[in-house]
C-alpha cells in the first residue's frame, strides 16, 4: 500500500536541516547523507548530495526530474563496470 497523501513526503529531519544550511550558505559543497529513504523535495534542486551506499558516498546532483524519488535510487549498492566502447557523457 502506498503512503497516505495527508502525511506528505517522508524526509529525515537531519537531511532537511543540512540542505537548508547549505542552501543558505550558498557554497558549492557536497552534503553527505546516510538517509537513502528520504524523498527528494523541490527545495533540494541544484544541491549536491553525497548519498551513502554502504561503502562510500555517491555524488548526486539533484535536478527537477528527480523530485519525488528517493535518494537511494541514485546510489547503487552493487558495483558493475561495463565497457566504455562508444558510450557518451554529456556535460550538463
Amino acid at each position: 500500500m502506498s503512503r497516505s497523501v495527508w502525511k506528505g513526503p517522508f524526509v529525515d529531519a537531519y537531511v532537511l536541516k543540512k540542505a537548508e544550511a547549505a542552501a543558505e550558505s550558498g557554497r558549492h559543497e557536497v552534503i553527505k547523507i546516510w538517509s537513502r529513504r528520504s524523498t527528494i523535495l523541490p527545495q533540494f534542486v541544484g544541491l549536491t548530495f553525497g548519498v551513502y551506499n554502504g561503502r562510500k558516498h555517491i555524488t548526486v546532483n539533484v535536478t527537477e526530474d528527480m523530485i519525488g524519488q528517493k535518494f537511494g535510487e541514485y546510489s547503487p549498492t552493487r558495483t558493475y563496470h561495463g565497457h566504455a566502447a562508444d558510450k557518451k557523457a554529456k556535460r550538463s
Partner: protein, 167 residues
C-alpha cells in the same frame, strides 16, 4: 588516449555453420556492425562483420573468413576493437567515455587532483570517477559545467572546480 576501443567480444560458435556469438558493448548494441571491419587488440587480424540476428545475450554474426564451427570456436574470447576515428563526431559538451578515461585532472590552481578512471551514470548526471594519488577511495566528480569548466582533449587534461568536501 588509446587509438583502439573495445566494442565487443566473440563468445564462441553459434550453430554448426560457422556463425559466431557476439557480445556488443556499444550503447546501441546494433551499432557494432557499423564499426566493421573490427580488429583484434594487437591488430594482427581484421574481421568484416555481418549481424544475422539477435540471440540471448548478444547477436549471431558472420565473420568474413570464418566458415566452420571449428574456426568459430577457436575465436572464443577474442575481443573486437574499432579505431577511434571510426566513431562519429559528437556535438559540443558531449564526449566519448573512451576520450575522458585517463585524462589528468587539475584544480583551478593547477594542482593535480588525479586522473579519470571511469565515467559512471547512476540515473542522475554523469560522474567522473577520479583516482586521486593520496586517497584510498576514488572520488566521484559531477560532470557539470560548474564542476568541470574546461576539458582539453588535445592536452589530455581537465580543469575541475570540485564542490567543497569532495577531495
Amino acid at each position: 588516449m588509446s587509438d583502439l576501443i573495445c566494442v565487443g567480444a566473440i563468445a564462441g560458435a553459434f550453430g554448426v555453420r560457422g556463425e559466431v556469438r557476439i557480445k556488443s558493448f556499444c550503447a546501441i548494441p546494433e551499432d557494432l556492425e557499423t564499426y566493421s571491419p573490427l580488429t583484434t587488440e594487437d591488430g594482427s587480424r581484421s574481421f568484416t562483420l555481418t549481424l544475422s540476428r539477435s540471440i540471448n545475450n548478444g547477436f549471431a554474426a558472420h565473420l568474413e573468413g570464418v566458415a566452420t564451427k571449428e574456426q568459430a570456436d577457436a575465436l572464443r574470447g577474442t575481443r573486437l576493437f574499432a579505431r577511434r576515428d571510426q566513431l562519429p563526431s559528437l556535438p559540443d559538451d558531449e564526449y566519448y567515455h573512451a576520450d575522458l578515461i585517463g585524462l589528468e585532472v587539475l584544480d583551478t590552481g593547477g594542482q593535480v587532483l588525479g586522473h579519470v578512471k571511469s565515467v559512471q551514470n547512476h540515473g542522475a548526471a554523469d560522474l567522473l570517477e577520479i583516482h586521486a594519488p593520496g586517497l584510498k577511495e576514488t572520488v566521484l566528480l559531477p560532470f557539470t559545467l560548474v564542476a568541470v569548466p574546461t576539458i582539453d582533449l588535445a592536452a589530455g587534461r581537465i580543469i575541475a572546480d570540485p564542490p567543497d568536501g569532495l577531495f
